[in-house]
Symmetry: C2
Subunit: 436 residues, 2 copies
């Protein structure tokens, strides 16, 4: 900015300290730092990014799926050409136009049976989280519980709506139920209102951990006993190693689970389409019962009006092309991610001796593995790793505050090839050796 | 809901009174009522909706514009097929991928010269407003000024971020500058912080009013003297009757104007793409200067991550097809909306005598005309008009609290044909006659 312009604009200056506190908070600081490091070292191999694998993208996907969705509307639903055009082009239904296909997919793939009216199609899973937290956060007493370590998108959404996040340890089962009960009791005694607990039961980001079936049932029982909503986020559940456990939502007989879904990994990140299933009943002032989904839709009307019908059509076409089964649609993707995960785990075992100071967990699916190292795996260490050894990873301390976090790092295997994993692990081993 | 299920879910019930206050606030009540009335009377002719005219939609637009944008990336920017694919399919730049084309369009059409880095591409103009208000609302002292009557989308966005809106009368010029100065002074004396003033200088929704050139200059001077940001919203400026006045942003030498744009009326509502130009400098804690756009991008990263690149590609293809000129792209649209507006104004003059109790303003462009009637034009009257006379309009009291508002209604001419306007005005005249 030139001096003349700077002088001219001086009085219109905004001060960062006068803006919303989330802008100076730890989540954004984390996200900025991690983005910035990966931009500064573009030649480093990234085991940091959880992006989908690009080799699997069909270059003509948007056009092909648009055509499939147009055909579905005309052939299966009897729409006239004017109705098809209106559905794709005009302002649309706030809760979305592919809600019926999403509900069908949930039935086919997950055995989740919900009224399509309970589904709100959103601008990615991120908007689904923001809608839900915005609705739940009514006053300063409110807090959100979240299993720690916690997905940064959730922490960011909570910061946007001024909702403090209270961590619940994941323990060895994916959630420490005793700690959950103690935390809820303590918060209520302090006059706080725990509005819900956020969990990712399948191959969680960042921990890679999953809950087994008994833990899922016990968590649902605990939520009922504590009168607590559960927010279930499931972006990675389809990328399993053979055992596809039921989601909490599939086991939920009390409409206590709000379920977040994403098409970023199972269809196309560029569509930016996700959804939330919110069939929890809401009691109105007059005693009538409504759906939580309708409250979320009211907020969505003020946030983004509706999710782009053109983008929804791309996802809708993908769904109808594969019989409304993402399981069927993602056979190749599941194979690639499983191959990469095994390759990463085998590669770690080949480079670091059992019983040594470098240890890692062994997720059965998803994108992420957590590695313990015998030194501080902090931002400075990441910088050094990127600059001197050409390999990127994520310090676990960005995801929680815990004594163990400082010596842990997250590796992701989703966006790389087996050869890149080999090279990245060689570099990681050299980096780790250099710290001893 | 069955009794068994209701009993089962009883303990998980959310209570409406425990949700965010905006959900029970007047904006959402208004939006719900208006939507509900139009759904209940689908056969009524709607002079209520401000939707774009559907006859102008090209049925193959998404596919054609996707192809044009792919071609642009390859031919003009030298992208490889992999880079094209990644741009459309993968998670993308938070501030958008068509920011350069938007900046070029602003130069070509509006003489607005801004660094493309100041542009954030958003999920419609609605998200642009939410981002801006979220950034500006730091604590409970903060308020937003807005010219009244006020667009409900703005009021809704403010409610979502707990930001009270203080009205500034539009007066006869589009904004009452004396009232603006008095209001700012009073608020500051009360310890409140007026963060900005929202204005729609061209064919405002709902008033139809525009500011002339002298008022625009005076408003900018007043904003400088009061040290106030201006939020300029311009969805209808291109649909003028021959005189295209410069926007505030084009006249803004102090980077004091945050400019909201929409492609819903000038390209395709179904893309849900808008943008905000935010080149106001922000002073960081360390004294460094940054762009307000970068603060908005940080919030966007937590709200929607990024705007669907597929949807952006549709708008980008539209822009490159027409030399980055929405003026050139919207020749037919401008003609249709001008024809409709003249037809509506002529039709009012043909049915209601000059000097009589039914009066209306005469906007030179845009979609909206405000009519004064000699009775309460309230929700009950709208119900009666819809049910007995088959014509829909909007009570102006939904947009502001003012003694005159109760006898005013808004008519929109955008989504109807001249024949429908004739029929709707006959019905409106019969309705008005029935109230005397």
């Amino acid at each position: 900015m030139s001096e003349a312009v700077a002088a001219q604009v001086r009085s219109a200056l905004l001060r960062a300290g006068d803006l919303h506190p989330a802008l100076a908070g730890p989540v954004l600081e984390s996200m900025n730092f991690l983005n910035e490091v990966s931009h500064r070292y573009p030649d480093a191999i990234s085991l940091a990014a959880g992006r989908p694998h690009e080799d699997l993208f069909d270059a003509r996907a948007p056009e092909r799926y648009l055509a499939a969705y147009r055909h579905h509307l005309a052939a299966d639903r009897g729409f006239t050409p004017e109705q098809v055009r209106r559905t794709l082009f005009q302002y649309g239904r706030t809760k979305g136009v592919i809600h019926d296909l999403v509900a069908r997919m949930l039935h086919v793939d997950e055995g989740i049976d919900v009224d399509p009216e309970s589904v709100v199609v959103t601008v990615g899973c991120q908007e689904a989280m923001v809608l839900t937290l915005r609705a739940l956060r009514a006053d300063p007493r409110d807090v959100l519980l979240a299993v720690a370590p916690t997905y940064v998108g959730l922490t960011g959404a909570a910061a946007l709506v001024d909702l403090p996040v209270v961590p619940v340890p994941g323990g060895t089962d994916g959630v420490d139920l005793d700690a959950l009960a103690r935390t809820v009791t303590r918060l209520r005694a302090e006059g706080r209102r725990p509005r819900a607990c956020y969990v990712m039961p399948d191959f969680a980001n960042p921990s890679g951990m999953s809950m087994d079936l008994a833990v899922r049932h016990a968590l649902l029982d605990a939520a009922a006993a504590l009168d607590l909503l559960l927010l279930e986020d499931n972006p990675y559940g389809l990328f399993h190693g053979g055992e596809h456990l039921p989601t909490l939502k599939a086991l939920d007989t009390g409409r206590r689970v709000v379920y977040f879904g994403s098409f970023a990994k199972t269809c196309l990140p560029g569509a930016r389409v996700g959804y939330v299933v919110a069939d929890t009943p809401v009691e109105a002032a007059d005693g009538g019962l409504g759906l939580f989904a309708d409250e979320l839709a009211k907020i969505k009307g003020m946030l983004t009006v509706n999710t782009s019908p053109v983008a929804q059509a791309v996802v809708g076409g993908h769904l109808v092309t594969h019989g409304c089964s993402l399981v069927a649609a993602n056979t190749a993707e599941r194979a690639v991610y499983q191959r990469n995960l095994r390759h990463l785990l085998d590669g770690l075992a080949a480079r670091f001796p059992a019983g040594g100071p470098v240890r890692w967990n062994t997720p059965r699916g998803g994108f992420f593995v957590v590695v313990d190292v015998p030194f501080a795996a902090d931002d400075a260490a990441l910088e050094h790793s990127a600059q001197e050894h050409g390999v990127l990873w994520v310090p676990m301390r960005h995801f929680y505050d815990h004594p163990d976090a400082d010596r842990r790092l997250r590796l992701s295997c989703s966006a790389v090839s087996p050869a890149e994993i080999d090279e990245a692990l060689d570099r990681l081993a050299a980096f780790i050796a250099s710290r001893r």
